[in-house]
Protein backbone atom coordinates (compact mmCIF):
# COMPACT_ATOMS: atom_id res chain seq x y z
CA UNK A 1 0.00 0.00 0.00
CA UNK A 2 1.53 3.32 -1.09
CA UNK A 3 0.55 6.03 1.37
CA UNK A 4 3.26 8.71 1.41
CA UNK A 5 2.92 11.57 -1.08
CA UNK A 6 5.83 12.30 -3.35
CA UNK A 7 6.46 15.20 -5.66
CA UNK A 8 8.12 16.11 -8.93
CA UNK A 9 10.51 18.72 -7.58
CA UNK A 10 12.27 19.54 -10.85
CA UNK A 11 12.15 18.32 -14.42
CA UNK A 12 14.01 18.98 -17.63
CA UNK A 13 14.06 17.92 -21.25
CA UNK A 14 16.45 17.94 -24.20
CA UNK A 15 14.75 17.86 -27.59
CA UNK A 16 15.21 19.43 -31.01
CA UNK A 17 18.38 21.30 -30.00
CA UNK A 18 16.60 22.90 -27.05
CA UNK A 19 16.87 22.44 -23.30
CA UNK A 20 14.01 23.17 -20.95
CA UNK A 21 14.04 23.14 -17.16
CA UNK A 22 10.82 23.32 -15.17
CA UNK A 23 9.05 24.49 -18.31
CA UNK A 24 11.44 27.35 -19.07
CA UNK A 25 13.75 27.31 -22.05
CA UNK A 26 17.31 27.25 -20.76
CA UNK A 27 19.29 26.84 -23.96
CA UNK A 28 18.80 26.71 -27.72
CA UNK A 29 21.39 25.92 -30.36
CA UNK A 30 20.16 25.92 -33.94
CA UNK A 31 23.71 26.20 -35.35
CA UNK A 32 25.01 22.71 -34.62
CA UNK A 33 24.76 20.22 -37.48
CA UNK A 34 24.83 17.06 -35.43
CA UNK A 35 24.30 15.72 -31.94
CA UNK A 36 28.01 15.60 -31.14
CA UNK A 37 28.39 19.33 -31.80
CA UNK A 38 25.15 20.11 -29.99
CA UNK A 39 26.29 18.17 -26.91
CA UNK A 40 29.64 19.94 -26.97
CA UNK A 41 27.84 23.27 -27.13
CA UNK A 42 25.70 22.37 -24.11
CA UNK A 43 28.83 21.28 -22.23
CA UNK A 44 30.29 24.74 -22.83
CA UNK A 45 27.01 26.48 -22.04
CA UNK A 46 26.87 24.72 -18.68
CA UNK A 47 30.54 25.67 -18.10
CA UNK A 48 31.42 22.10 -17.19
CA UNK A 49 34.99 21.06 -16.48
CA UNK A 50 34.78 17.30 -16.76
CA UNK A 51 37.17 15.85 -19.39
CA UNK A 52 35.59 12.39 -19.04
CA UNK A 53 32.51 13.84 -20.76
CA UNK A 54 34.30 13.84 -24.11
CA UNK A 55 34.93 10.10 -23.85
CA UNK A 56 31.27 9.24 -23.39
CA UNK A 57 29.11 8.01 -26.23
CA UNK A 58 26.30 10.27 -27.40
CA UNK A 59 23.62 8.51 -25.34
CA UNK A 60 25.64 8.95 -22.16
CA UNK A 61 26.35 12.56 -23.03
CA UNK A 62 22.63 13.24 -23.31
CA UNK A 63 21.79 11.59 -19.99
CA UNK A 64 24.76 13.21 -18.30
CA UNK A 65 23.92 16.71 -19.60
CA UNK A 66 20.28 16.32 -18.58
CA UNK A 67 21.35 15.30 -15.08
CA UNK A 68 23.61 18.36 -14.87
CA UNK A 69 20.70 20.59 -15.89
CA UNK A 70 18.35 18.88 -13.45
CA UNK A 71 20.73 19.10 -10.50
CA UNK A 72 22.20 22.48 -11.48
CA UNK A 73 20.84 24.54 -8.61
CA UNK A 74 21.09 21.96 -5.85
CA UNK A 75 23.82 22.47 -3.30
CA UNK A 76 24.17 18.76 -2.80
CA UNK A 77 22.53 15.54 -3.92
CA UNK A 78 21.82 12.84 -1.34
CA UNK A 79 24.03 9.83 -1.92
CA UNK A 80 21.03 7.53 -1.80
CA UNK A 81 19.29 9.30 -4.68
CA UNK A 82 18.20 6.44 -6.92
CA UNK A 83 18.34 6.45 -10.71
CA UNK A 84 15.48 4.91 -12.67
CA UNK A 85 15.83 5.44 -16.40
CA UNK A 86 14.30 4.00 -19.52
CA UNK A 87 14.38 4.23 -23.28
CA UNK A 88 13.27 2.51 -26.47
CA UNK A 89 16.54 2.08 -28.37
CA UNK A 90 18.76 0.76 -25.59
CA UNK A 91 22.40 1.40 -26.67
CA UNK A 92 21.68 0.63 -30.34
CA UNK A 93 23.45 3.76 -31.57
CA UNK A 94 26.78 2.61 -30.11
CA UNK A 95 26.06 -1.08 -30.74
CA UNK A 96 26.08 -0.28 -34.46
CA UNK A 97 29.47 1.45 -34.21
CA UNK A 98 30.85 -1.58 -32.42
CA UNK A 99 29.32 -3.92 -35.00
CA UNK A 100 31.03 -2.03 -37.83
CA UNK A 101 34.39 -2.44 -36.09
CA UNK A 102 34.07 -6.23 -35.80
CA UNK A 103 32.30 -7.29 -38.99
CA UNK A 104 35.42 -7.44 -41.16
CA UNK A 105 37.77 -10.25 -40.11
CA UNK A 106 40.60 -8.66 -42.10
CA UNK A 107 40.14 -5.32 -40.37
CA UNK A 108 39.13 -6.48 -36.89
CA UNK A 109 39.91 -3.70 -34.44
CA UNK A 110 37.10 -3.33 -31.90
CA UNK A 111 37.56 -0.22 -29.83
CA UNK A 112 37.46 -0.79 -26.05
CA UNK A 113 36.32 2.82 -25.62
CA UNK A 114 33.29 2.14 -27.85
CA UNK A 115 32.59 -1.32 -26.44
CA UNK A 116 32.20 -0.08 -22.85
CA UNK A 117 29.17 1.92 -23.94
CA UNK A 118 27.29 -0.99 -25.50
CA UNK A 119 24.92 -1.08 -22.52
CA UNK A 120 22.43 1.71 -21.82
CA UNK A 121 22.78 1.51 -18.03
CA UNK A 122 26.28 3.01 -18.30
CA UNK A 123 24.49 6.38 -18.29
CA UNK A 124 23.62 5.78 -14.65
CA UNK A 125 27.20 4.85 -13.86
CA UNK A 126 28.42 8.13 -15.32
CA UNK A 127 25.83 10.16 -13.39
CA UNK A 128 26.64 8.26 -10.19
CA UNK A 129 30.39 8.84 -10.54
CA UNK A 130 29.92 12.56 -11.16
CA UNK A 131 27.56 13.04 -8.23
CA UNK A 132 29.10 10.47 -5.91
CA UNK A 133 25.86 8.50 -5.69
CA UNK A 134 25.85 5.12 -3.95
CA UNK A 135 22.31 4.17 -4.72
CA UNK A 136 19.79 1.89 -6.35
CA UNK A 137 19.60 2.10 -10.11
CA UNK A 138 17.60 0.43 -12.81
CA UNK A 139 17.32 0.87 -16.56
CA UNK A 140 14.26 -0.35 -18.45
CA UNK A 141 13.86 -0.73 -22.19
CA UNK A 142 10.25 -0.04 -23.14
CA UNK A 143 8.43 1.06 -26.27
CA UNK A 144 7.39 4.38 -24.74
CA UNK A 145 7.99 6.33 -21.52
CA UNK A 146 5.77 4.29 -19.21
CA UNK A 147 4.84 6.88 -16.58
CA UNK A 148 2.61 4.45 -14.69
CA UNK A 149 5.39 1.92 -14.20
CA UNK A 150 8.13 4.50 -13.65
CA UNK A 151 6.22 6.51 -11.04
CA UNK A 152 5.20 3.33 -9.20
CA UNK A 153 8.71 1.91 -9.24
CA UNK A 154 10.09 5.21 -7.94
CA UNK A 155 7.50 5.43 -5.18
CA UNK A 156 8.30 1.91 -4.04
CA UNK A 157 12.00 2.79 -3.81
CA UNK A 158 11.22 5.80 -1.61
CA UNK A 159 8.49 4.06 0.40
CA UNK A 160 10.71 1.16 1.31
CA UNK A 161 13.60 3.38 2.35
CA UNK A 162 15.81 2.29 -0.53
CA UNK A 163 16.11 5.91 -1.68
CA UNK A 164 15.35 9.34 -0.31
CA UNK A 165 14.93 10.79 -3.81
CA UNK A 166 14.74 9.40 -7.33
CA UNK A 167 15.92 10.73 -10.66
CA UNK A 168 13.58 9.13 -13.11
CA UNK A 169 13.20 9.56 -16.84
CA UNK A 170 13.62 8.73 -20.47
CA UNK A 171 16.92 8.97 -22.37
CA UNK A 172 16.52 7.75 -25.92
CA UNK A 173 18.79 8.06 -28.94
CA UNK A 174 18.77 6.45 -32.34
CA UNK A 175 20.57 7.80 -35.39
CA UNK A 176 20.93 11.36 -34.09
CA UNK A 177 17.23 11.43 -33.11
CA UNK A 178 17.00 11.98 -29.40
CA UNK A 179 14.41 12.52 -26.71
CA UNK A 180 15.47 13.16 -23.12
CA UNK A 181 13.35 13.86 -20.07
CA UNK A 182 14.45 13.67 -16.43
CA UNK A 183 12.49 14.37 -13.27
CA UNK A 184 13.73 14.75 -9.69
CA UNK A 185 11.30 13.04 -7.36
CA UNK A 186 11.26 13.68 -3.63
CA UNK A 187 9.07 14.50 -0.65
CA UNK A 188 9.26 18.21 -1.50
CA UNK A 189 7.60 20.06 -4.31
CA UNK A 190 4.40 21.43 -5.70
CA UNK A 191 3.56 18.92 -8.39
CA UNK A 192 2.39 15.67 -6.88
CA UNK A 193 3.94 12.57 -8.36
CA UNK A 194 1.28 10.80 -10.35
CA UNK A 195 1.48 9.03 -13.68
CA UNK A 196 -0.74 11.74 -15.17
CA UNK A 197 1.45 14.60 -13.94
CA UNK A 198 4.62 12.85 -15.07
CA UNK A 199 3.01 12.28 -18.44
CA UNK A 200 1.92 15.93 -18.70
CA UNK A 201 5.40 17.22 -17.93
CA UNK A 202 7.01 14.75 -20.33
CA UNK A 203 4.70 15.91 -23.11
CA UNK A 204 5.21 19.63 -22.50
Amino acid sequence: MIKEKYYISDFCSIRDKKIFKNGDQLHIDLESDNLKDFAKGVYKFLELKYPKFHKMDELCKLGFLASEVLLKDREKVDRDTALVLSNRSSSLDTDRKHQISIQDREDFYPSPAVFVYTLPNIIMGEISIKNNLKSENAFFVTENFDTDFMSNYSKILMNTGKASNVICGWVDLDNDKYDVFLAFLSKKGEKELTKEELNNLYNQ
Partner: protein, 85 residues
Protein backbone atom coordinates in the same frame (compact mmCIF):
# COMPACT_ATOMS: atom_id res chain seq x y z
CA UNK B 1 61.85 10.44 -33.88
CA UNK B 2 60.53 13.96 -33.23
CA UNK B 3 58.07 13.44 -36.07
CA UNK B 4 56.83 10.18 -34.55
CA UNK B 5 56.37 11.83 -31.16
CA UNK B 6 54.22 14.57 -32.70
CA UNK B 7 52.26 11.96 -34.63
CA UNK B 8 51.62 10.02 -31.42
CA UNK B 9 50.42 13.11 -29.59
CA UNK B 10 47.93 13.82 -32.36
CA UNK B 11 46.74 10.21 -32.37
CA UNK B 12 46.36 10.23 -28.59
CA UNK B 13 44.18 13.32 -28.66
CA UNK B 14 42.07 11.93 -31.50
CA UNK B 15 41.75 8.31 -30.34
CA UNK B 16 41.27 9.05 -26.65
CA UNK B 17 38.96 12.04 -27.17
CA UNK B 18 41.18 14.43 -25.20
CA UNK B 19 39.18 17.40 -26.42
CA UNK B 20 40.60 19.89 -23.93
CA UNK B 21 44.23 19.01 -24.64
CA UNK B 22 46.51 20.57 -27.30
CA UNK B 23 49.50 18.81 -28.86
CA UNK B 24 51.75 21.55 -27.48
CA UNK B 25 50.56 20.78 -23.93
CA UNK B 26 51.87 17.21 -23.98
CA UNK B 27 55.52 17.03 -23.04
CA UNK B 28 57.63 14.18 -24.41
CA UNK B 29 58.37 12.96 -20.90
CA UNK B 30 55.03 13.73 -19.23
CA UNK B 31 53.49 10.66 -17.59
CA UNK B 32 50.44 9.53 -19.58
CA UNK B 33 48.71 7.95 -16.61
CA UNK B 34 48.18 9.14 -13.05
CA UNK B 35 49.05 12.79 -12.53
CA UNK B 36 50.00 13.38 -16.15
CA UNK B 37 47.32 13.20 -18.82
CA UNK B 38 45.14 11.23 -16.41
CA UNK B 39 44.45 8.35 -18.77
CA UNK B 40 42.51 5.38 -17.43
CA UNK B 41 42.41 1.60 -17.94
CA UNK B 42 40.14 1.83 -21.00
CA UNK B 43 42.61 4.28 -22.55
CA UNK B 44 45.37 1.74 -21.94
CA UNK B 45 43.38 -0.87 -23.89
CA UNK B 46 42.76 1.68 -26.63
CA UNK B 47 46.51 2.31 -26.86
CA UNK B 48 47.16 -1.42 -27.23
CA UNK B 49 44.72 -1.47 -30.18
CA UNK B 50 46.44 1.61 -31.64
CA UNK B 51 49.85 -0.09 -31.48
CA UNK B 52 48.55 -3.07 -33.42
CA UNK B 53 46.36 -1.22 -35.91
CA UNK B 54 48.73 1.61 -36.84
CA UNK B 55 52.17 0.13 -36.22
CA UNK B 56 51.67 -3.64 -36.47
CA UNK B 57 52.87 -4.24 -32.92
CA UNK B 58 50.96 -6.92 -31.05
CA UNK B 59 51.68 -7.03 -27.34
CA UNK B 60 51.88 -10.61 -26.08
CA UNK B 61 51.12 -9.54 -22.54
CA UNK B 62 48.91 -6.46 -21.93
CA UNK B 63 50.93 -5.83 -18.77
CA UNK B 64 53.82 -4.81 -21.02
CA UNK B 65 51.82 -1.68 -21.76
CA UNK B 66 52.52 -0.26 -18.33
CA UNK B 67 56.17 0.34 -19.21
CA UNK B 68 55.63 1.15 -22.90
CA UNK B 69 52.94 3.78 -22.21
CA UNK B 70 54.95 5.61 -19.57
CA UNK B 71 55.31 8.70 -21.76
CA UNK B 72 55.21 9.78 -25.41
CA UNK B 73 59.01 9.57 -25.51
CA UNK B 74 59.11 5.98 -24.25
CA UNK B 75 56.25 5.00 -26.56
CA UNK B 76 57.92 6.51 -29.62
CA UNK B 77 61.19 4.75 -28.77
CA UNK B 78 59.42 1.38 -28.45
CA UNK B 79 57.44 1.85 -31.69
CA UNK B 80 60.51 2.83 -33.72
CA UNK B 81 62.27 -0.37 -32.58
CA UNK B 82 59.38 -2.79 -33.02
CA UNK B 83 57.09 -1.45 -35.75
CA UNK B 84 56.20 -3.67 -38.69
CA UNK B 85 54.28 -1.04 -40.60
Amino acid sequence: MAELREELKEKLIEQLSLEDVEVSEIGDDDPLFGDGLGLDSIDALELIVLLEKDYGIKLKDPKEGKAIFESIGVMADYISKHRTK
